[in-house]
């Protein structure tokens, strides 16, 4: 009896095991050799670049018969998707857009980003040297290139030209002048505010960075130690906080860039300090009431001068687990070519990382005039806009804290000192 039962148990179990095995094979069989590539998949976070990609991908399919599937997400959703898929060593996408400073350290150490050094140096005509030095540095870690920068971004000052003119205020060139101008135009009783900026703890860190540099500070010193409790840093925190506290919209600590830019776009703020890549949101009559009145100024100088960040917000890399790396590179090379970079700059106002695109007057014609000058003048800019370490997300939560205290009118000095201790502990833990 026992034997027979056992046998029949096996008989019952066998199909189940086979089915499981079959499904597992199906899951892992993304590979095989890639002689004939018919399709590629790229996932990225929504940006002006991905908008332009929609047209270019269709063109690429016409030229090569290779279909490029595009999947776009919000920033955080992309981050979650990448972590889930790459932890599972998924090969169901070949290329991905990513934020260099957020994930490159972590992803490259995890073995999730393909080494592209040979690819970028392989084609003189494509010309890797044409990419801005700072952009090339940004995507290089320990002499290894992990991606091609597809967008650049600088901190600029958006302002309402009409209001400044009517009030007889000159365009502020220093943070002090900005404070005075914001104070003069602030009219909260009528729902109008002097300034809109990010005020939520984590999102604000990148925008606070230019204040920090312009006050003579930084998140870390040359040896990588925490420096957010220096007198310069404390002053920078206080300056950032007081602008939002005194002349910012209510509920600022709940605002990322979508909320803050919406207030400016609806004509409810005189100044908006954020990345230049958002210019397109103010130029679309469907969502902006300031199309004709928005103007652009360089980031105002602090006691140590004007030192806005100038970074690479979007980079395209190759999934280490992809089985179509060469085909993926061919597409990346095509889409980031000199010609297509100019197309993206002129038609989609994608701030290119190529010098040649910015030197071409025809290509920059579509880009808001005041901004082109700011881009071409890169003097004093800083190549990072957040702490430099692997656990960036955690660090941003820590160094954003004192800014919240400043916005809420608390004791910035004490909170900055505690933040510095916490940040240093985090850095020490990482060096182990």
């Amino acid at each position: 009896m026992i034997t027979r039962t056992r046998r029949t148990r096996f008989a019952l179990a066998a199909p189940l095991v086979l089915a499981l095995a079959a499904s597992m094979t199906a899951c892992s069989s993304g590979g095989g050799d890639s002689e004939e590539v018919t399709d590629l998949t790229l996932i990225a976070a929504n940006s002006p670049w991905t908008e332009g990609l929609k047209t270019l991908a269709a063109e690429y399919e016409d030229e090569t018969d290779i279909k490029v599937n595009l999947e776009f997400y919000g920033n955080e959703q992309l981050n979650d998707t990448l972590k889930v898929k790459l932890n599972a060593q998924s090969s169901d996408f070949d290329m991905y857009g990513y934020q260099v400073q957020d994930v490159m350290r972590e992803f490259s150490r995890n073995g999730w980003l393909a080494d592209m050094t040979e690819y970028v140096e392989s084609d003189a005509e494509w010309n890797w040297e044409d990419f801005q030095q700072s952009a090339r540095d940004a995507v290089t870690l320990d002499d290894t290139v992990y991606g091609v920068p597809v967008m650049t971004e600088r901190h600029v000052m958006y302002y309402r030209a009409d209001l400044l003119e009517a009030a007889g205020i000159a365009v502020p060139t220093t943070l002090k002048e900005l404070d005075a101008a914001a104070a003069k135009l602030n009219d909260p009783d009528n729902g109008f505010y002097g300034i809109a900026m990010r005020g939520a703890k984590v999102p604000l860190v990148t925008q606070f960075s230019s204040f920090l540099y312009s006050y003579g500070g930084d998140f870390q010193d040359k040896d990588g130690n925490a420096t957010v409790d220096t007198p310069e840093a404390k002053e920078a925190y206080a300056a950032y906080g007081s602008l939002l506290k005194n002349y910012g919209p209510p509920g600022a600590t709940n605002m990322g860039w979508p909320e803050a830019s919406a207030i400016f776009a609806q004509g409810n703020a005189a100044f908006y300090l954020d990345a230049d890549s958002q210019a397109y949101t103010f130029l679309d009559p469907a969502s902006s009431a300031v199309v004709d009145t928005v103007a652009y100024g360089a980031f105002p100088a602090g006691p140590a001068g004007s030192h806005p960040y100038s970074i690479v917000p979007q980079t395209v890399g190759i999934n280490e687990f992809s089985t179509k790396k060469d085909a993926a590179w061919d597409f990346i090379k095509w889409v980031t070519s000199e010609e297509n970079s100019k197309v993206l700059l002129s038609e989609e106002t994608v701030p290119s990382a190529r010098d040649s695109a910015w030197a071409d007057d025809a290509a920059t014609a579509g880009f808001p005039a005041g901004l082109v000058e700011i881009v071409r003048n890169s003097e004093g800019t800083v190549g990072h806009d957040r702490p430099q370490l692997e656990k960036v997300a955690l660090a941003r939560e820590i160094v954003g804290g004192p800014a919240i205290t400043a916005i809420e009118g608390g004791d910035v000095d004490a909170v900055a000192e505690k933040a510095n201790t916490d940040f240093q502990t985090l850095l020490d833990g990482e060096q182990k």
Partner: protein, 313 residues
């Protein structure tokens, strides 16, 4: 030939050597439940077991990176070291209890109102159930707009009532209560639905008898309807408390990954999500989720015991 096949069709005889049918007949219970057991094993037991496993490691960044076993370190750190754990636990409890009580009271009141037949009853029921079918993230975004302090409708409404503007979701002190309001708005209909179903099965005789004896509406509600409805209320409470404890979508949609700039809306679920997807600390996040699971099990056991006792009484 035909005759033979017909015979065998009409009178199937178990052949010797194929014990399969006999075995299936004998073990029908096992055979019929096997697919469900396999499903549970693959989709529930494995993930939980893997989470338990991870919770004893320092796995971070990538699960394929080498990691060490750290025993109960992760648990100890949550319970003693991490200063955001206990406040998050408190917020989870506050959110769950407040939302649950308000939803049960409101739900019961609405269910009693809808119990009687009236003209346009169908329309009213559909209208009340609408929030239930809306997507939570969309609901979060909608309320975020309504509660926007400078341009949102809520403050316009407050102004028309002669009241001062509020920060609602943006305020450190008001965010959690506003979220409770949103939860109540969305989930009270479910409580109504369950309680209406319960009310429709109640026997009418006790109520009629009490009426004959001269009991007023309140007495009949307190002494007859409510006790008879208790098992249904308990079921609704258990279902809603599990859901409320796990609330994630509306908090994430309105307050972001850290539950606000001062973590004012950070519940245990949010904290675990941030630890896992924000900070890539898989071992530590797994330990937190196990603690959370433990809390839920303890509370549910307590509720079930209370319910059984209540039923016996």
């Amino acid at each position: 030939m035909t005759t033979t096949s017909q015979t065998s069709y009409l009178a199937p005889k178990p052949r010797r050597g194929t014990g399969l049918t006999t075995w299936i007949d004998r073990h029908l219970k096992l055979v019929f439940t096997a697919p469900a057991i396999a499903f549970v094993a693959i989709l529930i037991v494995f993930p939980i077991a893997y989470t338990v496993f991870l919770s004893f490691t320092d796995s971070a960044s990538s699960v394929t990176r080498p990691f060490r076993f750290v025993g109960l370190d992760n648990y100890a750190r949550w319970l003693t070291d991490f200063e955001r754990f206990w406040p998050a636990t408190g917020r989870t409890a506050y959110f769950t209890v407040t939302a649950l009580v308000v939803e049960l009271v409101l739900g019961l009141a609405i269910a009693l109102l809808l119990r009687k037949t009236f003209r346009g009853q169908g329309l009213v029921r559909v209208f009340i159930l609408l929030p239930l079918v809306a997507t939570p993230v969309a609901v979060g975004m909608m309320w975020l707009l309504i509660f926007e302090p400078s341009i949102g409708f809520a403050n316009v409404f407050m102004k028309s009532l002669g009241l001062g503007p509020q920060l609602w979701l943006s305020g450190t002190d008001t965010a959690l209560n506003t979220l409770i309001f949103i939860d109540v708005w969305q989930w009270t209909p479910m409580v109504v639905l369950i309680l209406l179903a319960g009310l429709s099965t109640l026997p009418e005789e006790p109520d009629e008898a009490a009426r004959v004896d001269g009991a007023n509406a309140w007495q009949r509600f307190v002494h007859i309807t409510l006790p008879l409805l208790m098992p249904t209320i308990a079921a609704a409470a258990i279902l809603r408390s599990i859901d409320a404890m796990k609330t994630f979508d509306i908090i994430y949609a309105t307050k972001g990954r850290t539950g606000g700039s001062n973590n004012e809306a950070e519940t245990l679920n949010m904290l675990a999500y941030n630890e896992s997807f924000g900070n890539s600390q898989y071992g530590s996040a797994a330990a937190l989720l196990m603690l959370f699971l433990l809390f839920i099990v303890i509370i549910l056991t307590a509720l079930t015991i209370l319910r059984t006792k209540g039923n016996r009484a």
